[in-house]
């Protein structure tokens, strides 16, 4: 079953690469509006909050596959009291006494602080806590500190706090893309811990049920579809529903506020964010149309050119494997069910090719 699945994934991935390369080639023209790509390949960029873009990407990213995130810990995973290699990142974190994690606090269900009490909740937060548990045997506030981080550039990726060493890792609904692992401000990703898909959110139908509408069906209807500016979602909206349909905003959550005020008709973004919006408004729902494209989320660690064999990503991957396999209350399935309010359909997939970005 696994092989069959991964072959499917691989086929999907190759098609995506072709489309993405085509798009990248057409990119310069697209921005001027000279030509419209007929289809859009998966690029990263959605799933993060704000998105101001300083400057365009320099070189087009090269395709990358599972090997880009595959590093695992050599030998058995060290317990909280087992020795770790001296001078390594783990050693540094242990000596400090707590793990620092970059998260978001404005994404309902994934990273949020509902009562401004500095008690973050959500799936991202819980995954981060499992990392602290693996290092210290505990995930209380004494052993894990959270910082709010934002991606400076959705396309190439850059978490200032991560790059200047203020946080050890980032768990923040961040799509694994090749561009983010290859640019000047590159970062390392773990294997996926969640597979998001880009979907459409609309008000409930007149029968009180989610509407069946797809993005393509909105073409020519004059309806406005909201998404984060500079994101791939905006490109997809333009390609499938027409240029006029795209309604870019600074923050994905602005879309919900605008939808509630009837200024837009639909929101198109990762289902992870859409689920959080559903949780904040009983009158909207993700439409039943099939997802447009998949977005694997990874745990981000810093990339140190002096230490290309980054020692934190392998550790994170091995912990993640353990958490995914764990059937207990701190296992992946339980956390998913608790935080997202539904049982997962499947485990997080490792695609044959990662989105190019």
């Amino acid at each position: 079953m696994k092989t069959k699945h991964s072959r499917l994934v691989r086929a999907w991935g190759s098609a995506a690469v072709v489309a993405a390369v085509g798009l990248t080639a057409a990119c310069g023209q697209t921005e001027k509006g000279a030509s419209k790509p007929s289809s859009v390949g998966p690029r990263g960029g959605e799933g993060i909050g704000s998105g101001a873009i300083p400057g365009a990407p320099t070189a087009p990213p090269k395709p990358c596959g599972p090997e880009a995130t595959a590093a695992t810990w050599h030998g058995p995973l060290p317990g909280p009291n087992d020795p770790v290699p001296a001078g390594g990142t783990l050693d540094k974190i242990r000596k400090r006494g707590f793990l620092t994690v970059g998260i978001d606090l404005n994404t309902e269900l994934f990273g949020y602080d509902p009562h401004h009490t500095n008690d973050p909740q959500g799936f991202d937060v819980d995954i981060a806590k499992q990392m602290a548990r693996a290092i210290f045997g505990a995930s209380d506030p004494a052993h894990i500190q959270f910082r709010v981080v934002t991606l400076a550039d959705p396309k190439t990726g850059e978490f200032a706090q991560l790059h200047n060493g203020n946080v050890d890792l980032v768990v923040r609904t961040t799509t694994i893309t090749c561009a983010r692992m290859q640019g000047d401000k590159r970062m390392s990703f773990s294997n996926p811990y969640y597979t998001a898909a880009q979907k459409l959110l609309m008000p409930l139908g007149e029968d009180g049920k989610p509407q069946p509408t797809s993005l393509a069906q909105l073409k020519g209807t004059g309806k406005k579809v909201c998404a984060t500016k500079n994101s791939t979602a905006i490109d997809t909206i333009k390609a499938q529903a027409g240029d006029d349909a795209a309604f870019p905003v600074a923050n994905a959550l602005d879309c919900l506020a605008l939808l509630q005020q009837d200024q837009v008709d639909a929101i198109f973004t990762d289902d992870a964010l859409l689920r959080g919006m559903e949780a904040q408004d009983p009158h909207v729902a993700i439409t039943t149309a099939p997802p447009v494209q998949k977005q694997p989320y990874g745990i981000v660690t810093g990339y140190d050119p002096a230490k290309p064999d980054n020692d934190l990503t392998p550790f994170v991957n091995s912990v993640l494997d353990k958490v995914i396999a764990d059937p207990g209350p701190n296992g992946w399935r339980s956390l998913f069910a608790n935080d997202l309010g539904m049982s997962p359909d499947s485990l997080p997939e490792i695609p044959g090719q990662y989105p190019l970005g």
Binding site: N106, E108, P114, H115, V148, T150
Partner: protein, 467 residues
């Protein structure tokens, strides 16, 4: 008509002399033979008598009109324009305060403290009252009316956005912050600029009123110059003709004229002095201090939104602290502008109390900046709760007794006092300016009538001598 008096001499040579050239007229008089035909002189004197009497009355009228213009201006400074600019500043201040308060309310866990909620309500109500009052006062001023309309239309939308933000916040939905941001954007980039425009318009109107109030009384002075020249010429001629040194009537009229001028000049000087003080000690100070207060409230909004945004509103901190780009181009933040404005306020203060109050506000600003920086550092070091406590002033901190809230509140208190001090000075001086002209118009009228009477009597006696 007064000019015709200058040409009254019968001799054709002197008839050519213009009325303003008194010396020339006097010279031509010298060359005249001493006894012209009696009936002609008689008729000439009769005409001169009427012309001089009418001239005196016209001078009085000119004085009254000139004074009325200045009095209207002074009254405008005291009431209409002075009131409108205060309403405009009240609107601006209240709305800025409401915005800072809304962000502060949002930062509270659960229901915010009642005084804070009351403060927000009070701000909006006060802004609405000021809007109404300003609309009534604005009359036909279309620029002001337009700004007021815009504000009145946007304000309910603003209040609704904030209410939605609060409702979402109460149940812990992050979308509430997006509403708060929308509301604040609407306030900062649409409503407040209109309030600013209104303030600017009213500041212009006030300065125009000040100009009118201190306008040089050309009409009156011109009339006075002509009248005095004619009076002198006639007197010189009469004294030659009659061997009497003085004609008491004409002399009386001349004295009356001089008295009128002295009275008007001194009253106008006193009035100008008061209006100058009203501007320097009052409106100039109020204007700069009000600017400082608005800036401080906007900076407070930045401080709050940065905290509430949890990393998604860091542009607000840039707004507060300013930015410097790679090529060293510095864009000053609101804090810097505030500090500069307060320094200016100290610089233009005109009395001890004003200087003290402005200096205190400037020091408060420095203290707040220190607290703000400490707060930002706490937030960045994952001590969010402490940063919030500092912003809301709820507990004391390791760094000291006071937080950003106390520092900000102290700045507001001192600014409030400084503005009140300057407003009092403005009101006192504007009223004194308007009062300075009291009685002048009646006085000028009475003196003019007396002058006319004196001329009629004085020349009447001369004409009688021919009969």
């Amino acid at each position: 008509m007064t000019l015709a008096t200058g040409r009254a001499p019968t001799n054709p040579a002197s008839a050519a002399a213009s009325g303003g050239a008194g010396a020339a007229a006097a010279a031509s008089v010298q060359g005249q033979p001493p006894e012209p035909a009696r009936p002609r002189t008689d008729r000439r004197l009769s005409r001169l008598r009427v012309v001089l009497a009418v001239g005196a009355l016209l001078f009085g009228a000119a004085g009254i009109v000139s004074t009325q213009v200045r009095a209207d201006g002074a009254d405008d400074v005291k009431s209409h324009s002075g009131v409108l600019i205060q309403q405009a500043e009240e609107i601006y201040h209240r709305l800025s305060d409401a915005d800072a308060t809304a962000a502060t309310i949002y930062l509270h866990v659960g229901e915010a403290p009642k005084p804070l909620l009351d403060n927000y309500d009070k701000d909006l109500k006060a802004a609405q009252s000021a809007l109404l009052a300003a609309t009534n006062e604005a009359g036909g001023d279309s620029a002001a009316k337009n700004s007021l309309d815009q504000i009145a239309q946007q304000l309910p939308i603003y209040a609704k956005l904030n209410a939605t933000a609060a409702a979402n916040n109460l149940v812990g939905y992050p979308v509430g912050f997006r509403y708060l941001t929308q509301a604040s954007n609407l306030m900062q980039s649409t409503i407040l600029p209109q309030a600013q425009k209104l303030s600017d318009t009213e500041a212009k109107n006030l300065s125009a009123a000040e100009d009118t109030a201190t306008q040089f009384p050309w009409l009156m002075v011109t009339a006075a110059v002509i009248l005095v020249v004619v009076l002198l010429v006639v007197q010189v001629r009469e004294s030659r003709r009659t061997n009497r040194v003085f004609n008491l009537g004409l002399l009386g009229a001349t004295v009356g004229l001089v008295l009128s001028l002295l009275w008007a000049a001194s009253a106008d000087l006193v009035q100008s002095g008061h209006l100058d003080k009203a501007k320097k000690r009052g409106s100039d100070q109020v204007s700069i201090l009000a600017t400082a207060r608005i800036l401080s409230l906007q900076a407070r909004t930045d401080e709050m939104l940065t905290l509430v945004g949890r990393g998604t509103a860091d542009n607000m901190e840039a707004d507060y602290a300013g930015t410097t780009d790679a090529s060293d181009h510095h864009v000053p933040g609101r804090e810097e502008l505030l500090a500069d404005t307060l320094r200016d306020a100290v610089g233009i203060a005109t009395d001890r109390t004003g200087t003290d109050l402005a200096t205190r506000a400037s020091e408060d600003e420095g203290a707040w900046r220190v607290q703000h920086q400490a707060l930002r550092a706490l937030d960045q070091q994952n001590q969010y709760q402490k940063a919030v406590d500092s912003a809301l002033g709820e507990r004391s901190f390791a760094t000291g007794q006071t937080g950003a809230k106390q520092a900000f509140d102290k700045l507001q208190d001192d600014l409030e006092q400084a503005i009140k001090h300057s407003e009092d000075a403005f009101r006192t001086e504007a009223k004194a300016g308007a009062d300075a002209l009291t009685g002048l118009q009646i006085g000028l009228g009475v003196l003019a009538v007396a002058m006319a009477g004196a001329v009629l009597l004085g020349l009447g006696r001369r004409i009688a001598e021919y009969h």
